[in-house]
Symmetry: D3
Subunit: 309 residues, 6 copies
């Protein structure tokens, strides 16, 4: 397993045991700190590759991510994965010749569109992640927001069809899966008490779920390097913010596009008990591992804590 992790071994400090010991001495206290704690990881549709059922090679990035998650789990940390799937939904709507109407940037979701959303999220992406995890040890379990009414939804305002707001979260099924030593992989489809399904924004789903299960950490895996102080300046990366600072930032027009709802959900989680929220660059190999087990910061961290990391 280790020889396949795609790392140039000539870079390793093999001649110096002290360097190795130093890294272990750094990592072990983090393992202890997060042992038995829940970490919700939002894995964006942008970083999700093609299905493992194709006769092509297994998607290497998804496989590497799955390996990291399984390793964290193996040392007692409790990861919960929440995933999106925007690009893949677009592709399938296109395939059946469906043209989406938009209203204020939100896709108008009629019954047929909702059917495709469910099929892509629950029938294609969710099992792909589960299968990738299971290649490293049979621990992945697919969950939808429908299961034992995990996500209870109501129709969102506006005439945009079956788009839902989260009314409440019943986290028992996630806690039970964690207690069984398994790794839940969640697709954020919700339903109301009449059984009508709704499409739910995955960033908000991840945040609400993190709050409901009392997660220690919420990590957004994205395809940017973090939050910038200036929209178009890559060198303006903010490494650490307190929730109050984030609130101010959201009050300005610095944050735009898809980053805005992401940071709104991050702020909400941060204010409701999640100790630290992270915007990570999922393109860095083993980003989640480096973030969780080393003193080095990657991307942006939002936390009330003053001293640590």
């Amino acid at each position: 397993m280790k020889q396949d992790s795609g790392i140039d071994v000539t870079l390793l400090p093999s001649s110096d045991p002290s360097a190795w010991a130093s890294i272990l001495l750094e990592a072990l206290p983090y393992i202890q700190k997060f042992m038995g704690k829940c970490v919700v990881v939002k894995y964006g549709g942008n970083v999700l590759g093609d299905s493992v059922d194709s006769n092509e090679e297994i998607d290497a990035e998804l496989d590497s991510f799955a390996e990291d998650i399984v390793l964290l789990h193996s040392v007692g940390i409790l990861p919960v994965i929440v995933h999106g799937g925007g690009p893949q939904i677009d592709e399938w709507l296109n395939r059946i010749g469906k043209v989406s109407a938009f209203s204020n940037g939100l896709r108008v979701t009629d019954a047929e569109t909702l059917e495709v959303v469910k099929m892509v999220l629950l029938g294609k992406l969710n099992p792909s992640i589960v299968q990738a995890i299971n290649r490293h040890g049979d621990k992945g379990v697919g969950v939808s927001g429908l299961d034992s009414s995990l996500i209870v939804a109501t129709k969102a305002k506006g005439d945009i069809g079956f788009v839902g707001d989260i009314e409440s979260v019943n986290p028992e099924i996630i806690l039970s899966i964690l207690k069984d030593g398994l790794i839940p992989v969640v697709a954020t489809i919700g339903a109301d008490s009449q059984g009508q399904g709704y499409n739910i924004n995955a960033d908000f789903g991840a945040a609400e779920l993190a709050v409901a299960i009392g997660a220690e950490k919420l990590v957004y895996m994205t395809n940017v390097e973090g939050v910038r102080g200036k929209f178009d300046d890559p060198t303006s990366l903010i490494q650490r913010m307190q929730p109050g600072e984030l609130e101010n930032l959201l009050g300005s027009d610095t944050i735009q596009g898809g980053m805005r709802p992401k940071l709104q959900s991050a702020l909400s989680a941060s204010k409701n008990g999640v100790s630290s929220v992270h915007i990570l660059d999922g393109r860095i190999p083993h980003a989640i591992l480096l973030e969780m087990l080393t003193d080095r910061g990657i991307g942006t961290m939002i936390t009330e804590e003053v001293v640590e990391k």
Copy 2:
């Protein structure tokens, strides 16, 4: 709830409490007998209606079936639902212009076909059943054979693509869901240890699962009235068979079409510890309730037991 069950109340023996008492006296010992026991119910794709996400009425038959299941569960019986989805898969393959090749009656399942199979089963039918159950009390949980490697599969013989045989069943996740007081709804997609997915026949999946969880009963809900002694004679219904008799029957050419693999899986379950296997007519309203809680037989029962029902 009760007033909506669609029964003509003028038929009720309301003037005679003795008749009511008699039915209760008959039902209660069955409740006691099956309390805490698992019952696997195979719900065929033929009886599954359209998605509840459509803006049409909720499918009435699925809703009635879901109510029965929830009531049985409410008195301590542990139902596990396994579903198929042949007609709905055909419809979607057709929709994207995919033409299936067949080999010995089995559909050649290339990667694209498998993708559609997963999307229909996991993304469309499975959540429909879960949503129908949850209309009666938040207990439904969708499960695929991928979850924590519930169904480990290998490629079936022949050059027919990603059609799988069941290698082993890891029933822990089903038992855990039952222990949590929930109702599992299972789609029979499997995977091998490399994470490659396979389509699995739902009748065989139901039988193997029933054996693996130690089910007391396995019920096939079909659209025929049971097993006939003569293929084309509706009056030749066999009400009760021992496994040996079924084996003989399968040795003859009386059993044809889709009933043959169904009865082969029934025989396998019957020989591996499932006390009774039933072929029920799912078109009879509340068929599962009548079968389980009254002395009246419906359809065909396969059992070693000599005396009872």
Copy 3:
């Protein structure tokens, strides 16, 4: 067992499965509602027949009652039986030539009378009920108010000998018997801390016990059809009362004779947490079953609830 329940099968709606299903659909939610809940059933001396030890036939009514209790218990409801024995005590006092003096309608209970009361209740009637229950499954356990000081009594006011008022109830032994999956049958003899025994009114004993164990329901099985609005008008049966209405009724002189203390104890239970108290006609076959598992009311129900049944 079922064929012996003494019901004319020609009355059964055997030709119509819908009618059967309807009754089951009605009963199952009640079973769920009462599962794990305690129901105290006061079984009056008037309906208790002769001992099963005689070489005559087993008393059919007691046997039918015992069967109902065992069936309710078999589906998870927790019945506790409390019994009286007035007529049988009279008979035995008469047999040994003892003439009772009365004071304000209460029998003056000297030491010799108390001895006979104990012998009849504990030595004759209580074991008869236990034996009848055990014919249907070994679950009956005789309990007296003396056992681990279940009923702590003090001497009642007036010069009437060993008649006791209930000072406190120690319900642990009843709860322990229920937890062991058994059915307690209680005779209401009490004692004070010096070990002096007292005769205790069984209606009040049943009410205090129902309160002490947190019973959901208290049912008085009597030989009248319920509470009447007018003393001598059988058509004036009151089907449902709130405790306040009962209190008003007791303030008038409508309620007379043995019904008055019975309703006083019913009122007390109703005001101290027992959700519903019932006065049932024990002469109706399977009255307890019909009351608990159907929508039909039998006799009179006292409850704060407004909507249900």
Copy 4:
């Protein structure tokens, strides 16, 4: 409590703490040895006085016995009392003018006689013992062989009516009462599966119960000083016997009268796992205490053990 134990304090070795310490050092290892172990004590009808419900003084001997039992129980020993009641049954049969017929020394027990037997044992003597125990702490619980079918009986051979032989013992209820920290007081009425009651010899009942619950010790409290080697020689007391020796003794005609069935039951218990069986003189104050907690032997002990006491 202590000052009332009726002992002449001038006899006490109060001037010598060493003597006190010596007695404690002797007793403590016995307490440890029997802690958590069951001891069945057969308390004969001969030593049972009149009812405590009479307005006379509480029976002093029963009270002293009850105190000993409660003290043993308070230090973790688990006593189970089994009682007879021959003299009291005779008295009540006489009172209602019933004349018993006898056959081979056994009373012909018709239905009416059985009714009186049950009333005296279950309604008079059993509650008297329970009440005496409860004067010292609310731990006594009356049990009949009918309760949850503790004693399953069959009709004894011969035409002697409702006299029963023990077919099997279901000791769960006794074990449950002990686990609840209570003291069972058992009357040996049994029943068959049809609910027919039978009178059971209490000596045999005690022995079978001791075997069924895995008792460490079985003690018969009698009104003789123990087993004699010669029938009419009080100086021939046998202090200790092995089961084999007892079997030989029973083969001779030395043992006569009521002692014969008592010793037969003792032999049966001894051969079926009860470590020691004792025939004690219940007339010695605190006999059970001295037997269990000192090195001094009282009466006769039957045991396989060679060395101890």
Copy 5:
């Protein structure tokens, strides 16, 4: 075992069973009272003899004390032993030619002195007591205040080196040892959070530990007969005091020498929840047994209780 307890058997009241019964009747309620309760016994260095590792005879007094402790433990009482060691420390300091400086009666404890203190307490006396206990049944466990930071200490005021005051007690390890059915033997060495060790006064250690574990009783085994009302009058022994009275006594100059800190710690324990504190004469054979299991008082008892003993 019993024959070796060194008691002149001719003193025993063997001819009178009533006397024996009386002593047992007296002891049993005390066993019940203290069953499951913790009793901290401070065993002073003055009464500790030479090591059992010498080739001389086992120290008889330590052995007798150990036997008493094991017997109390065997009947369910939970003893915790705390020991001192002043004389033995003096002896060893002398042996290596170390001269102690004193300041206000407290020994100035430099690093070398602390090393000897630890070696004598932890390496010599503590294992001697453990070994003596284990001669009677393998239950002794040596514990130092260092173990899992049982005693957290700070440097005492004044320039007297490594003498410590108790800052806090973490009693979990003691409670865990007791739960395992073992007998902790505690040496009162403490440490601060930097790992620096300190010598702690054993009387105060015993008192703080008794409070921390919720002990019922704290017993100081000394070599005097108890607390005297007048310093030099042996007949002025105070048998019983309330904490308030002790406080007054400590306000006067009646209490001098080592008895003063002992009584100050006793007062502290008494005011913080320890029901009774005792100053016993450890020279009386089996003093702890007589104190705990008889009505006779030995030495001085400090308690808020008014009536008992």
Copy 6:
């Protein structure tokens, strides 16, 4: 804490996250493998520095070792430390002017010598290790072989005094300490059933303890680099041996001095269920960490396993 680990940070591969990730990917599977497993670490007297009670600096090597142990424990591995103390015993014997006699290389241990052995091991070295561990988190618990008779010993052959062989090990106390989340530190003093103490070789003690608690690993921390194939050739280090090879090696005269009994005990552990036994060079900083959590071998490993490390 991390900044104090004494490692030159300029050596760290800080510019390359891949290298860090690689080391973590290597370590995590080992953490998972050893999680919940026991590892016995024999810490030799040679590497034990002076007492932390001195007013000098804390011994840096002991502190570093303690930190490693606490870190391993913090991630779920269960270390048990066993220590020796030869040099320190020599020093103290010398201090009191005691001259040891030797017989076949073993010190003749008279009573006075044994006293010093116990004082040094139990009173000086054991608490030093406990204090060092507690500087990193209050988990250390000192244990002697006397505690609850952990090590039962008999007198070794020959006329060499109180030197003991191990007769049996009662590991319950060690398992209980581990279950409480604490780290046992064991000194190998044993005793026989009469309470006579014996000095036990610590290498053998560690091996027997490892077997008794079912340890996964046994590590000897020494001051040599491992086992050499040729006695005087440092380049002949054997990195891996199977038990059979070790047995052969011990049959030759290659192994001499103190390494011989060490390897004999290693062989014994290896043959009795300890998966791997290691001879490590304790002078390498963080040797235990590198050995347990990296693919790199340090010193010599004895194992039956063929493939791994």
